[in-house]
């Protein structure tokens, strides 16, 4: 090891600057990644408290085939940024169910503390509209005790 003079006097042959010629390539790579993965949010999220469940699973379905039904704590229902009266839910969901080729998945985003009577009414409306694939939106609950 040529460590004479403590190694301070040694002339280094490696460039001390970060090569910038590939920076544009890196930028383009990231750009393409984000262009491909971006999904523009077409509706605003409602402020709800998410219930959590350990059996939460990911929904593998095209974004177009998922309809969000927001149910707030006071029983208000929001679909596509519109306040929908309870008795009109079936009329709103029904056409979308037919349009999707009967593949529509309803993501029911209900507040954790909403009384169940409202959840039941929404389910009755969804049954009437024909949309039978329902997901109770939850956050994944991470349990402290892990089964081994």
């Amino acid at each position: 090891m040529g460590m004479k003079d403590g190694g301070f006097e040694r002339k280094t042959k490696a460039s001390s600057t970060i090569p910038s010629s590939s920076m544009a390539d890196i930028a383009f790579l990231l750009l393409i990644f984000f262009m491909v993965t971006t999904v523009f949010q077409n509706e605003r999220e409602r402020p709800i408290q998410w219930p959590s469940a350990a059996a939460t699973e990911q929904i593998d379905e095209k974004r177009d085939n998922i309809l969000y039904v927001w149910l707030e704590r006071n029983g208000d229902i929001w679909i596509n940024d519109r306040l929908v009266p309870m008795q009109d839910v079936a009329a709103v969901v029904g056409p979308q169910w037919m349009q999707s080729g009967q593949r529509l998945i309803i993501s029911l985003r209900a507040d954790a503390l909403v009384p169940y009577r409202f959840v039941d009414l929404v389910q009755e409306q969804l049954k009437r509209s024909g949309a039978v694939y329902v997901v109770f939106a939850t956050d994944l609950e991470r349990r402290m005790t892990v089964e081994r």
């Binding site: 990231l30 262009m35 219930p51 959590s52 469940a53 059996a55 974004r63 009384p115 024909g130 997901v135």
Partner: protein, 141 residues
């Protein structure tokens, strides 16, 4: 024609020096606007409307979710009831379904019970592998 013979002094190449800047601009735009979708939850399939199925009481496990979050468990036609927390249901279901593979979980939730109590019961049932689950509203007596 004089115009045709004129030597153009304008470069016919697209300037590439600013390409990286344009790329970065777009990159930052997409970085800021990207929202990764979080579509997750508990799947259920609702019954078709007016689809009433007669089920023998022997094959039903009644789970009544009370407003307090306590679950009253009653097996089929028997009279004795057990109170338990949602976390206990998973093991109860496993032991009951081992004796009767045709068992159906009837989750009856009180109208005033919070949605999260029903979710925690549904969660326990799905963790235990239950597939035949019926969600109902508990009739007030």
């Amino acid at each position: 024609m004089a115009i045709m013979n004129k030597k153009s002094k304008v470069s016919d190449e697209i300037p590439s020096a600013s390409m990286a800047d344009i790329a970065f601009l777009l990159l930052i735009f997409f970085l800021v606007t990207t929202v990764f979708p979080r579509d997750s939850g508990l799947r259920v399939v609702l019954p078709e409307e007016a689809e009433e199925v007669e089920v023998s009481q022997r094959n039903v496990l009644h789970l009544q979710v009370q407003p307090s979050g306590v679950v009253v468990v009653r097996y089929g036609d028997s009279e004795d009831e057990q109170q338990m927390t949602p976390s206990q249901i998973e093991s109860v279901w496993r032991s009951e379904v081992a004796q009767n593979p045709n068992l159906i979980a009837a989750v009856k939730t009180h109208p005033d019970a919070a949605h999260e109590h029903m979710i925690s019961v549904l969660d326990a049932l799905q963790l235990a592998g239950a597939e035949r689950i019926s969600l109902q509203l508990l009739e007030e007596t």
